[in-house]
């Protein structure tokens, strides 16, 4: 269980990193960016991933920050997940993202694993892409042509694939202000504490005069990438925030799924069922949340 040979680079600056990626790309090199390595290292050790070169971002201290940017929460891509979990600012400004972070792996994994790495890795069982879809999230990337901003709904393409170019470095994730009255919940089903979710749901909504408004629900762990449960969202819009409606929304969300994944721990049918259960429960949790 040792990686196949690869060249290792650890550029000192973002400019160096982009220049290096551009050069390697021009040379036809199959390269991979490594951040915390919590997903990539096992894939290397199992020789499932065998890039010719690794570009390590560990020296890019400028990508390690959490800050309030005029109400928008900006988190540098190389910030560790545990730093985000420990941040009072993150907890106050983005409670859903904060709760999702605490569901990622175990503390040891969060100490090493970066916030940007999880988004860029885009594992279908990851909490982060689903959270990005229900919040107003933007990704900042820098490439040979300079910086650009990518909204969440254009960022996640499919299984472990984002719209980042191979020569681009994800530099930050930005969350628009989370309205104080907005409700949220995240629930997932994993075999053990800290395991990848077999199914999960992240959602946000307003409850206005007892009625659901602007409901956003995303499921993870079931399809190639996180998916908005639009059928459930539409069903709830303007409806009473009550158990019967949540039950129906769960069923609608489950029914909407195309073809959930299957593995030794959970069949496709079971995953679909779990999404329904988790949607209903998460809606109940969110509706009951007092600020």
């Amino acid at each position: 269980m040792k990686p196949a040979p690869f060249d290792y680079h650890a550029p000192a600056t973002l400019d160096e990193a982009v220049a290096l990626l551009t050069r390697l790309e021009d040379e036809g090199c199959d390269m991979k960016i490594i951040a915390g390595g919590q997903s990539l290292m096992p894939m290397l050790a199992l020789r499932v991933a065998r890039p010719e070169a690794l570009v390590d971002l560990r020296r890019l201290d400028t990508l390690n920050y959490i800050r309030d940017d005029a109400g928008t929460l900006a988190i540098g891509a190389m910030t560790s997940k545990q730093a985000a979990a420990d941040s009072a600012l993150v907890k106050r400004a983005q409670p859903l993202f904060h709760a999702a972070t605490e569901l990622v792996g175990h503390r040891q994994i969060r100490n090493r694993g970066s916030v940007g790495g999880s988004f860029a890795h885009a594992d279908p069982a990851s909490e982060y892409p689903a959270v990005a879809l229900v919040l107003d999230t933007e990704f900042e990337a820098v490439g040979p042509d300079g910086a650009r901003t990518i909204p969440a709904d254009e960022f996640f393409v499919t299984y472990m694939t984002t719209s980042l170019e191979t020569t681009e470095v994800l530099t930050a994730v930005r969350f628009a202000p989370f309205a104080p009255q907005r409700r949220w919940a995240i629930q997932e089903f994993a075999r053990r504490n800290g395991d990848l979710a077999l199914a999960g749901v992240a959602l946000t909504l307003n409850v206005d005069g007892g009625l659901c408004r602007d409901v956003r629900i995303a499921a993870f762990g079931v399809e190639a990438t996180a998916v908005r449960l639009t059928a459930a969202e539409q069903l709830l819009e303007g409806q009473p925030a009550q158990a019967a409606q949540f039950e129906q929304a769960g069923k609608a969300g489950a029914a909407q799924l195309d073809d959930p994944m299957s593995c030794i721990h959970a069949s496709s049918a079971y995953r679909r069922h779990l999404i329904g259960v988790l949607t209903t429960r998460a809606l109940g949790e969110a509706a009951a949340r007092t600020h």
């Binding site: 269980m1 196949a4 075999r191 049918a269 069922h273």
Partner: protein, 806 residues
Amino acid sequence: MAIEIHTLPEHMPNDALRYVGKPVNRVEDPALVSGTVQFIDNLSLPGMLHCAILRSPHPHARIVSVDVSAALAAEGVVAVISGEDVKRWCVPGFTAPEGWGNYCMAVDKVRFVGEPVAAVAATSRYLAEDALELLHIEYETLTPVCNPEQAMAPDAPVVFEERGTNVMLHRDYTWGEVDRVFAEADHIISRRFRWNRVGANPTETFGCICQWDLADNSLTCHGAYQTPRFMAIGRAASLQLPANRVRIVTHPQGGGFGGKGGPRGTDIAALLSRKSNGRPVKYIEDRMEYLLAGGGQSWDRYYDAALAVKADGTVTGFRVHLVDDQGAGAEGYGTISAAKPLAAFTGNYRIEAASYDLTLVATNRAPTYPYRGYGPPPHNLVLESLMDCTARELGMDPAELRRQNFIRPEQFPYTVPSGNEYDSGNYEAVLDRVLEIADYPALRARQAAARAEGRLVGIGVVGTVEPGVFDWNAYATVGVPGVGVPEGVKVGLDVFGNVSVAVGFSLQGQGQFTVAAQVVADYLGVDMAQVKISTASSDVALPHFGQGGSRLGVAVTGAILGACEKLNAMFCKVVAHVMQAPEESIVLRNGRLYRVDAPEHGMSLAEIAGLMLSRSDLLPPGVEPCPEATYVWTSPNRNAPDDQGRCRSYLTAANATHVALVEIDRDTGRTHILDYCIVDDCGTRLNPANVEGQLQGGVAQGVGAALYEEYVYNDECQPLVSTFVDYLMPTIHEVPMTRKDHIVTPSPVSPLGAKGCGEGAMHTTPATILCAINDALAPLGKEMLETPASPHRLWKLLHEDQATSA
């Protein structure tokens, strides 16, 4: 001179025991917590090479050709071996039953995914693994045999062609008038059970460094070896060396649990050393290798079993039909695992007759290996689940049904139908106490309230007997040749009165060094800090077995006591001679030898040891200048099995009852353990903290087997589990912190009255959790009869009536 081994702590020559029976800190722990223990992977030898093994991707295939030339030419590669080398230099390893073995590496054909096909020794593990990709193996795939049903089909492919069948062993034991009790029964409660493959997963996988001395034609193996003496004998046999030319140096181990399959890795590293002109070769099994085929897979079982029950709830008969999927060979001594239940076949109960129809089958799954408990965990799950089914059918409380059928305290020693003798016990006292600490009536009330709300809450009350301290005859019943099970130690003193103890085993986690230090310190009346325990290598160690069969704490205690008795007698002789007093007038007590009639005249241990070592002129005739004694302990009063396998096999019979409260989430199928209580009786608790550790650890593994762990194979016999993403060991979050108490019924026959206690919690926990799950399901009229009771399985069971495809 017959040596008497004390069966009670108070018989030791010490007025105030300081250590035995107390939760003293473990002598093993300072090194463990400070990181100075030399585990095998911490050791490097000069010139050492690293081994990587190419493993079969096919469950069943003929090897057409092997081309190693490109790998041999690769950077850093020193040697490559394949089946051809193995065929020339080796014989297949020892198996039980005999003759169902593989070589350490596939010869001519592969029989399971993960079977070694070739191996490389290179200057680093990285380079060795790179070279594996340059090996070219051509296979001709064969139809795999995926399960016993396929294996026993008329035209099934044959895994071991020379055997002509896939049935390794079939035996039908009958104990008592089984047909009669079933004919006379008012109820026959029968079920089929499926126990899926689980197994040991120590923190440290197997590892070794082997060095073949080409001049001496001898082999030295450093490694994480659980039973070093057997390893030495086994390697001598498989590598065709004289046994006195194989030296095993066992290192501290990061856990064992029976599953560390060392033979293959050792033989492969040894052959690579031989082919590298004697350079040391390190092999560290990685987790993927371990999970695929490393000796961590056990108990792949299909049961069909029944109880014969009278109208009043008296259980009179127990029939078990077991088909056991051994995988591709019997290198893990699977016969023994299937036979161990004979030691406590009928559990805690006065069941008068029983039968055991046992079929061991070869398939193309990985060979199975020992795992903590060694057979009783699935067997007890079957027996105890049937007891619960009986209680439901008769409308009785499951705890009371058990109480009614318990062996009574006055019936000990009690011989069970399958032949073993239980030394002592008080099962009702254990049950009463656990129901008390669990507040059983309150649990039932809680359950009733939950059921009224439609929730699925269940209670399991399960008691088992833990056969402890196995001996040779336990396995002779199934044709395993005589393997002695002794435990030998050497106890010696230096001129300062320090005590050195040499044992044959090494650290594995259970704390037997501490037990040895406690016993020797209390016997000789010295401070534990004056005692040093060390491991002798296999070439100089006394006959020993080491960890296994819930025996070592008891066995090493017996060995220490025996050696101390011999020291005591020798010291009395020396002191009597020096004092010119009659030998019988000298006694050892509280760390000093003195005249009974004039206690002020005496000598300290240091004075005696110093005199013996330095003043040979003062020694009595026949006494050597050596204040040391050896003793090899083995269980007393063992006998040979009869034609139905009956014998006094295990010396002690510990007992425990567990109570679990669980709730099944109807919507997700997940089982939550809400409460867990244990009361056990393992006789004298030599170190109560060690016992508690054994209990809690056994519960963890039991939770894993009941709810989480499973080696899954697909329909083509491909293993689907190769990392911990898929093989789900429970973590601290999933294992309940148990509430515990104990009863003490000292064994009348064992050293200091202690009973084997290393496996009992693993014997009991899976059954307790499954019984609780089935109690929760009872209002629905459903039963879960398969382990692990995963959320997906339970969900399917709960929703099978709906038109849900799963």
